[in-house]
Amino acid sequence: MITKEHPMTPLLRMDRIPHIWCPTCGIGTAVSCFAAALKQNEIPLEKVAIVSGIGCTGRVAGYMKVDSFHTTHGRAIPFATGLKLARPEMKIVVFSGDGDLFAIGGNHFIHAARRNMDLTVICVNNFIYGMTGGQLAPTTPLSAKSTTSPYGNYEHPFNLPHLAASCGATYVARWTALHIRRLTNSMSEALNKKGFSFIEVIAPCSTVYARRNRLGSGLDLMKFYHDNCEIKNGANPEEADIGFQSKIIVGKFVDKEKPSFIDNMHVGLKRALGDKYIPYGGDDGAK
């Protein structure tokens, strides 16, 4: 059947297209995989919200046609925490970048993972601050160049899946913008997972990261992923460090069951208060 409408149209704010992302940027791929995951699961769109921070990936909230919140730098996770607790029936997804989530927002990430807060966090990791023109990120590999590490980075970067797993996330996966099918499946699994799920999407930033490090175009980076990614489901995330243009271990690393924050809150308060416990019902405290 021929339709005039692009299949993603109901999921996107078409009145905001064209988007601001550069050609061959990997963020768009992450967004279309996410849209496909929502479709696959037939999740009613009114029951999904996206919360983003600041940066190139922070703009995702502005393009998806769901309740979408573009918050301050690093603060998407606590904003999402409040929203989730107030609307527990919704699926709340944090979509943001590596600098936003792990530098300025790092404290919120580790605590949300520790609490096993019922959130899905998708991090597009392009190893750099794109929006501000290519500065050092907490994920920039050793020796990679950025505008604030012009002689090559000498800071150790985060291994994001290892960080998420150690803090208690119940679902942890890493894919690249090349692994469309697997990434979509992981997003679908994460959306259906209780508690804190985390997906890292390694994605090309053609404009600043690739150019500054003379890695060619976005397409060259995709070729690099093709030749250098090793799929290792169930691998120990501790071994998934990323070096400059080194092999990238991808896969689903953690998928386990653990009571979520909301489960634990109900159980704990019910045990202590018995019938005096009135679970939150979303009312507005008025008659």
Partner: protein, 385 residues
Amino acid sequence: MKADPKGVLTGEHYLDGDFACAEGALAAGCRFFAGYPITPSTEVAERFSERIPEVGGIFIQMEDEMASMNAILGASWGGVKTMTSTSGPGFSLMMENIGLGAMMEVPCVVVNVQRGGPSTGLPTMVGQADMMQARWGSHGDYEIIALSPNSPQECFYVAIEAFNLAEKYRVPVFIMMDECVGHMTEKVIIPPAEEIELYPRRLTNSPPAEYLPYMPEDDLVPSMIIAGQGYKIHTTGLTHDERGYPVMTAEAQEKLVHRLINKIRLNADHIIHIEEEDTEGAEVVVVSYGISSRVALAAIDEARAAGIRVGRLRLITVWPFPEKRIRELAPKVKAFVVPEINYGQMVLEVERCAAGQAKTILVSHGGGDVHNPQDILEAIKESIK
């Protein structure tokens, strides 16, 4: 709309200001509290953690004050009335997202039980030096509302008023307490729920296809939605248009920021709540708030006994500042005397509004204690010379 009896602890109690503030919030329908421990406001959080599971609400202790502030903004979009509480250092951390609350127009209430500063300052001792921070603390141009109670009983009522104003004007509202008011224990009478009037959330009547999240109504305040109801809104801390979409132009900035400011300024007469006594015919008016307003009473009594005609004007609303009333009084009095536990903050507003028509005298105090009423008395005597 009346309060839900579930949250109203009707009866006579002995409560400190922090607890009374928490009870006022629960009576006002607050059902979500996110906070971080900090002296001297911790008791507000403690009271919530104990009481809120019994009234159908949620308490969460966040990892810091930036998180607390964001959590209450997120939860407010989920349709619940929200609060956090803190003191100076935490208030500083909240400033970033108080700006977000002002920009996204999110109803919420922030309590600051003030202690001595700057920095860690005097954690367990009184201060009133965050009054200007409350007004100007986040970057950019915006208006907020701030209230300052002077007793546990008033903490209860001011908390209800704060929620009503937050809902009506879709703005973060501050309750600017101080350590003395927060920690003093007095009788608090909590009325029956049916005597508590609440302002409901301004939810839109438009269907999703016609709804524009930032299209103002006549009083310049737009109506709101609850996340998850199919409106699929976008909201951002960026300058935005009526659709909530980012627009990076000077015109969009002018339109938006002008409205954010005017929705408070043009409604100031409806917002402002002050207490006056003997201001008509007074030669001196003592302008004060919080604990200083109670300390000043002794000085006022003595001055009156000495034959000085002293009026009293107490700021319950501190922001927006009741400038109209000060302007009216200025040509009729010789002086305003302003005792505050700082080196001159609200006095600057009094002076601005007096515009040279009356003397404005600050009675300063660095914090850690309240004024000696004698100092206020001297200032009153000095002011009429």
